[in-house]
Subunit: 182 residues, 2 copies
Amino acid sequence: MRVLGVDPGLTRCGVGVVEGVAGRPLTMLGVGVVRTPSDAELGQRLVAVEQGIERWLDEHRPEFVAVERVFSQHNVRTVMGTAQASAVAMLCAARRGIPVALHTPSEVKAAVTGSGRADKAQVGAMVTRLLRLDAPPKPADAADALALAICHIWRAPAQNRLQQAVALHATRSPITSKGRTA
Amino acid sequence: MRVLGVDPGLTRCGVGVVEGVAGRPLTMLGVGVVRTPSDAELGQRLVAVEQGIERWLDEHRPEFVAVERVFSQHNVRTVMGTAQASAVAMLCAARRGIPVALHTPSEVKAAVTGSGRADKAQVGAMVTRLLRLDAPPKPADAADALALAICHIWRAPAQNRLQQAVALHATRSPITSKGRTA
């Protein structure tokens, strides 16, 4: 499974590509940051994010794109730009028919460090270890993008089993099915 | 001046095209709503918004696109979808080189009704009057999109004068210019 992780942002949009399956060593195929100038107009910045994401999709042809789920509660000052950059990333993937998964920051931290409240340094250290890198990727946005991709690879089997169980339950429970279509 | 107004939203994205100049009667060229199914995946909904906006740009070839400025403070439940839909609208315009302007809800209300705290019914009534329509456009998102376009047409001359004054001031004040480039 090849996953492009995207840590969305207008000024710095972290991107990282990881290949592997749960339970096996993972391989980093690429990591970087899509940057847009903060003094450019918002529309132009979104075009620059789109061009950057398109280049990463062209080069690495991921099967999944994992984007950090943006919440409106925190970082009120920057949340709008984050939401807009994430929309562009999701749009680029969905246009190509690539499935998009959203993971919350605490899901990502829990997946790679075991704790949903781990700090940036811990996440960077675990990403470095799991991908057998020489040093933590810089900036933190790039490391976070790799953590998102790892999180997706590790969570995917559980999510698939859950979907299969739900689908199986639906076919075995005519009452539930009736209730939902009524 | 031909302006496409966009009242962004994932479920209903209001769109309206108005032609005219400040101080002259205005003409409505089109009004509608781009809808996406709430049970579709987020990426697919963003693709549907993009396709809808592209159709409006193709059909009406506006010189400006006016989008409602989204704030993170209010409507926390829906603000993410609104921000994401607005990003798609801005992206579509900027990709074509069409200037994008953002206007706040109170700027729009003040422009068309004289009060920044006007309600939906007042805005609908004034849009109906200013564009000489038989009835207020439904739903409210469609009326709001027309109000955004009207607001842009009426505010544009003042904004242009302001920009010209700032530019003139910059050329006449070498100290300020030095300070900014230092």
